[in-house]
Amino acid sequence: MRELVSLLNVFCLLSLLAVGGGSAVLPQMEHETVTVHGWVSADDFASIYSLGQMAPGPNMTMVGLIGYKAADHAGMPPGFAFAAMIIVLLAFYLPSSFLTYGASHIWDAFHENPWRDSIQKGMAPVTIGLMLAGVHAVGKTASYNPEHSVYFNGLTIAIGLAVTAILFMKHINPALLILAGGVVGWFFLRGI
């Protein structure tokens, strides 16, 4: 029960801190769920994040799986694990949604305010820095993991860089590339 309340608290706060989109909150989410609360391992976090990239809809819906895994980790029965998933989804989506709903009412009053442009221009580099920290938060286990061999790490880094390069060169659905990464991983990383 205490775990469910902690999940609620952490994800409500993350919802309101997700300035500049979901990816900006990834490093903080990784820190809270892996290091502070130990709900998921670093490997789980990277896997769950990447599963979220394969499902349709908003990619941050994967937070529900962190709730599921946290409840499973705490030894709760599957019914509670599903409840935890719903709680985390509500905690992550409701606060920011209420805020947006309310703010869209009063937004028009600020339409001509020159500070709005300043906020957008000023926040842009902070958001990019946070996203870069998100790359690091997921990549420190998914791309380069000191527990793995040089061959393993070389291949995971190569897969990531290949995806980055292909996306810059070709207009292709990223979900297909992620699936392709899975096939390459299955073929070359089995039993290593």
């Binding site: 997700a18 599963l51 580099p125 920290a133 690091h136 998914a142």
Partner: protein, 181 residues
């Protein structure tokens, strides 16, 4: 411009929620709301996107809330947001169940390692693409790196960055009187 019912909004956003594999949701939303259904003009959509990007939360969900409210009031906002999120949540529910059960299987573990490695590449590409302008501007780049080091390497908590670093970034971009003649 015709106004949809909440049910029509739910159906339209649900369809996006089912088909939008691979991210880039805002483009899907624009195609449906502006092009296919003509529920909003291009300008109205861009205004909604601007609010959605500035406020906390996912851009796509925020746009759904704003568009839903404008088109069909509170019920419209709920219909649009739930329609967008529910399909992915159901699919992730199944994926999560399978993940918890089979993640120790060597075949599954190897495939997951490849999938996670590819997802890092995707996130890196998105970051570089939308940050292209910021990486080339020295002041912006300083804030990009400062934020990265503080949050990514030193684990400074996010509120510290948002309430101490971000205000400086915003003040440097403050409105200039002389620019408006």
């Amino acid at each position: 411009m015709n106004k949809p019912t909440p049910a029509a909004l739910f159906a339209a956003f649900f369809r996006i929620g089912v088909t939008s594999f691979g991210g880039g949701l805002v483009a899907y939303l624009r195609d449906e709301i502006v092009t296919n259904k003509s529920w909003m003009s291009e300008d109205e959509f861009l205004a909604a996107l601007e609010i959605g990007q500035t406020l906390p939360g996912l851009n796509s969900v925020n746009v759904a809330i704003i568009a839903g409210r404008k088109l069909a009031g509170p019920a419209g906002a709920v219909a649009a947001a739930t329609g967008l999120v529910i399909p992915g949540a159901v699919i992730l529910c199944i994926l999560g169940f399978l993940y918890v059960r089979f993640r120790k299987n060597p075949d599954v573990a190897a495939a997951l390692a490849g999938i996670a490695a590819a997802a890092v590449g995707l996130l890196l590409q998105v970051t570089l693409k939308i940050g292209a302008k910021q990486f080339l501007n020295p002041i912006d780049l300083a804030f990009v790196l400062l934020t990265f080091v503080l949050v990514g390497l030193c684990h400074v908590s996010l509120p510290v960055v948002l309430f101490i670093v971000a205000p400086f970034a915003i003040i440097l971009r403050r409105p200039r009187k002389e620019a408006s003649k």
